[in-house]
Amino acid sequence: MNQNPFVILPGITPEELSFLQQATAGLSEVQLNSFKFIYQGKRRSPQDILLFTLIGFVGVAGVQRFMIGQIGMGIIYILTAGFCMIGTIVDLINHKNLANEYNAQMAMESVQMVQMGTF
């Protein structure tokens, strides 16, 4: 019985584990190894998102949105101080969902890259 290779990822959530298992279902052993390397570089831990959201209370709001590739949202957050801080609070509550959403996209991209053989 092998241990799941993804459980060592920092701050991994059950949802993330389940979409990773779905994404990597068709990969061989060698492909799975290169997937791990690519995905590790791309993923954002939920804790990082939480910390970057907290910056919104003391400095620049919206860093978390830039982190997960939502540039337009990030610009609005900066200019409105995180929608007068309400948006920042929403993102605090929602940080795990934001991380999962981004990580699911990155998992898909990583699988594509592995299958193209570009690594």
Binding site: G72, I76, V90
Partner: protein, 102 residues
């Protein structure tokens, strides 16, 4: 139910915000503000007027919208786009829930 709220809090937030701005009357005298900076006495901010701008836009007055804040149009577009994305995600999630594990 609570789980549904937690999963879709961002979607609920954007929808509520847009509905509130559509229901508000942008020409009315400002009566209260939730802006922390304005309450602290800082009267200039690069985002000041954005709420009015979006509200005018939802009432169909583009000239007044641009006068309030030039970023209103792109901001509304970005919020709509994000809402659409979240709706799409919710639909995908719902579809994935319908599979009966055999």
């Amino acid at each position: 139910m609570i789980d549904l709220l937690k999963k879709n809090i961002e979607l609920i937030f954007w929808t509520a915000a847009i509905l509130a701005l559509a229901a508000a009357d942008p020409s009315a005298q400002p009566h209260y503000t939730i802006c922390v900076f304005k309450l602290a006495g800082i009267n200039w901010c690069p985002g000041c007027g954005l709420g009015h701008s979006i509200s005018w836009l939802l009432h169909g007055d583009i000239a007044a919208s641009l006068k309030a804040h030039w970023l209103g149009i792109p901001a509304l577009a970005i919020i709509f786009w994000r809402t659409g994305q979240l709706l799409k995600r919710m639909a995908i999630f719902k579809a994935s829930q319908n599979y009966e594990p055999s």
